[in-house]
């Protein structure tokens, strides 16, 4: 059942559950930050409206900088602003930032320890009709490999606002991942959010598998868990909203009873959440894991729903993975 302590949206499983894009959470988060902290500044590389940076830009025009189509310039300008005491947020589609400007981020932000918040939008295959060139499916992996950058992936628009605001809690560079399309609202304003802490959204007695999901696919994981319950397969579903630093103890605790894991992400099964959890388990508690995500291929144009079905990231794929990993338990 849904964890009652988390004050989740009671309409999660309704066919008319509210939906909103997580990028709207970015826009609202920036607006609130802008009002509270005069050092917050925002940069855009010709995607102001698409990334919802326009809300901040309209209210605080003196603190908004449009750089045009130049993501490397955007990242390094942000670095210069950051070392001079500002808190810059840079936003673009994740294929371009941190994709195109990865080395600039590495040198001028990560290694330089510049307090820049990097917003990667249009993440995942769910970007849809634009096709693979615009669907960021390796961005978590390339950032995760860099020392000194935290990573947060919100599960819905409400959490996205909280994550955006939480990114300013420390002076660490942060990578925040946002998606394009409207996705189901699973949380409420009352749902607690803490950077670095997982939350178990679906609980049950005697679970035999733990599903770790990050981002909007958490909803597919919850659908899967509910259907599996009808087949007497009890699972836990955990929302991993911070991929770095990973809530290691939380993950290990979530597995103490189940001893089998499934990871779920709209990202390659290489280097993202799957990689992070596998690394942890290999070092601390080797257990069978199955990966749900993009299976080492590029996707294509389509609707998000079509794509997650074709590329096996939907609830049916999750159910299949759960059954597979349970069969591997020794």
């Amino acid at each position: 059942m849904l964890n009652p302590n988390l004050h989740l949206n009671p309409k999660i499983f309704d066919s008319d559950v509210e939906t909103a894009p997580t990028r709207a959470g970015y826009g609202k988060g920036l607006l609130e930050l802008g009002g509270k902290n005069p050092n917050v500044v925002v940069l855009s590389a010709d995607l102001t409206e698409s990334t919802h940076s326009h809300l901040f830009a309209e209210k605080y025009p003196d603190r908004f900088f449009e750089v045009g189509i130049g993501e490397q310039n955007m990242a390094a300008i942000a670095a210069g602003l950051a070392v001079t005491g500002k808190i810059p947020f840079i936003a673009s589609y994740a294929t371009f930032s941190p994709g195109k400007n990865w080395e600039t981020i590495r040198t001028t932000i990560a290694y330089n320890q510049a307090n820049v918040k990097i917003a990667g939008h249009h993440a995942g295959v769910m970007t849809g009709p634009d096709g693979a060139t615009h669907q960021a499916t390796e961005d978590v992996a390339i950032i995760r490999a860099l020392p000194g950058i935290e990573i947060m992936v919100a599960c819905d628009s409400i959490e996205a606002k909280k994550a955006t605001i939480a990114s300013c809690q420390t002076d660490s560079p942060v990578y925040l991942r946002y998606t394009r399309d409207k996705t189901p609202i699973m949380t409420t304003e009352q749902t607690p959010f803490e950077k670095g802490k997982n939350q178990t959204f679906w609980i049950c007695t005697e679970p035999i598998c733990t599903i770790f999901a990050t981002g909007y696919l958490l909803h597919e994981a919850l659908l899967a868990a509910r259907e599996l319950e009808n087949e007497q397969i009890n699972t836990l579903v955990v929302n991993v909203s911070t991929i770095k630093p990973l809530d290691e103890d939380g993950i290990l605790n979530s597995l103490s009873a189940t001893r089998a894991a499934v990871t779920v992400e709209d990202h390659q099964v290489v280097g993202g959440l799957a990689g992070a959890i596998s690394e942890l388990l290999a070092l601390r508690d080797p257990l069978p894991v199955e990966f749900v995500g993009l299976q080492k291929t590029f996707a294509e144009s389509g609707t998000p729903k079509e794509l997650i079905k074709k590329y096996k990231m939907d609830k049916d794929a999750i159910k299949t993975a759960v059954k597979k990993v349970i069969a591997r338990k020794t």
Partner: protein, 294 residues
């Protein structure tokens, strides 16, 4: 902002620049790796900056009103470290630690390793953007410090530099001054053979910058050009400073093979045998006015 230079001051700066070149050679020989041509070529400009132009306080590298000096072509950091040491940012002795384990003097400048560096650089093409960010912050904070940015000429081949040049032109940024080390060399050879940059002045003008050209090894001319550039307020300014790579050491001057080599590491045609290059270089260092007594 007049940067007045008396004849006496010029002599002092030129002597300091010669000393800087000696320290560069000694430091590179000790390090066993690093870049020779750029640091030697830029010794006059760095001396002019650290000892005449910059509003700074070596004992207070975090002073919030200091002028900023951003080094985009980070590989020429040996001359920056030398000028900083001469100015009192850290002991001259510490120059011996360049590129060694646990050193604050990293092979390419690392902001958090050494106070006074302002940014981290090395991979080319990122310093102008960073300098622009620092200058934008000055605008937000209503501060009057000036941001000087040094970049290489080969470095201008990195496309994203032109993103920053467009941005500077768009925002009419008059609180930055870009200085290009126009020494005509890069690793694979002369710039005009590898990837021609000319007409270079026109390129900057096309991007709405005010462009100046000067002999970068002539301290008086360089300071005069800084004064002219600082007087321009309706556009960002760039000074294309023509320098002799390896300036001061006969066997290195104008030879691109000394871009990435320190003395004493390799046999280079036309140079003394490898074990003697450092010694010969030090013996030969001369002022712009003639040889100095050793």
């Amino acid at each position: 902002m007049d940067f007045d230079l008396t004849d006496q001051k010029i002599i002092e700066l030129e002597e300091k620049a010669v000393k800087a070149r000696e320290l560069v050679i000694e430091t590179l020989v000790e390090a066993g790796s690093g870049h020779s041509a750029g640091p030697l070529g830029m010794a006059d400009i760095f001396t002019a900056l650290y000892f005449h132009i910059l509003n700074h306080d070596p004992k207070n590298p975090e002073w919030s009103d200091r002028d900023r000096l951003i080094l985009s072509n980070g590989h020429i950091c040996p001359i920056r470290y030398v000028s900083m040491a001469q100015a009192g940012y850290f002991p001259i002795e510490e120059l011996k630690t360049l590129r060694k384990l646990n050193s604050r003097l990293q092979g390419h400048p690392h902001r958090t390793a050494l106070p006074g560096l302002e940014t981290t650089s090395g991979p080319l093409g990122e310093g102008i953007s960073q300098g622009i960010g620092v200058a934008l912050a000055a605008g937000l904070d209503k501060k009057k410090y000036h941001t000087y940015i040094i970049a290489g000429d080969g470095e201008l081949e990195e496309g994203n530099i032109w993103e920053s040049i467009m941005f500077g032109g768009k925002n009419k940024m008059d609180n930055i001054t870009l200085i290009i080390d126009r020494n005509n060399i890069q690793i694979d050879g002369f710039t005009e053979i590898v990837m021609p940059l000319e007409p270079l002045k026109n390129k900057f003008e096309a991007f709405n910058w005010e462009a100046f050209e000067v002999d970068g090894n002539n301290i008086r001319a360089f300071v005069d050009t800084i004064r002219e550039a600082r007087a321009v307020h309706e556009k960002p300014t760039v000074i294309i400073a023509h320098t002799i790579p390896g300036k001061g050491v006969d066997f290195m001057e104008n030879d691109f093979r000394w871009h990435g080599n320190p003395p004493d590491i390799a046999d280079v045609p036309g140079a003394p045998p490898k074990g003697q290059q450092g010694k010969v270089a030090l013996d030969e260092l001369r002022t712009l006015q003639g040889k100095i007594e050793k």
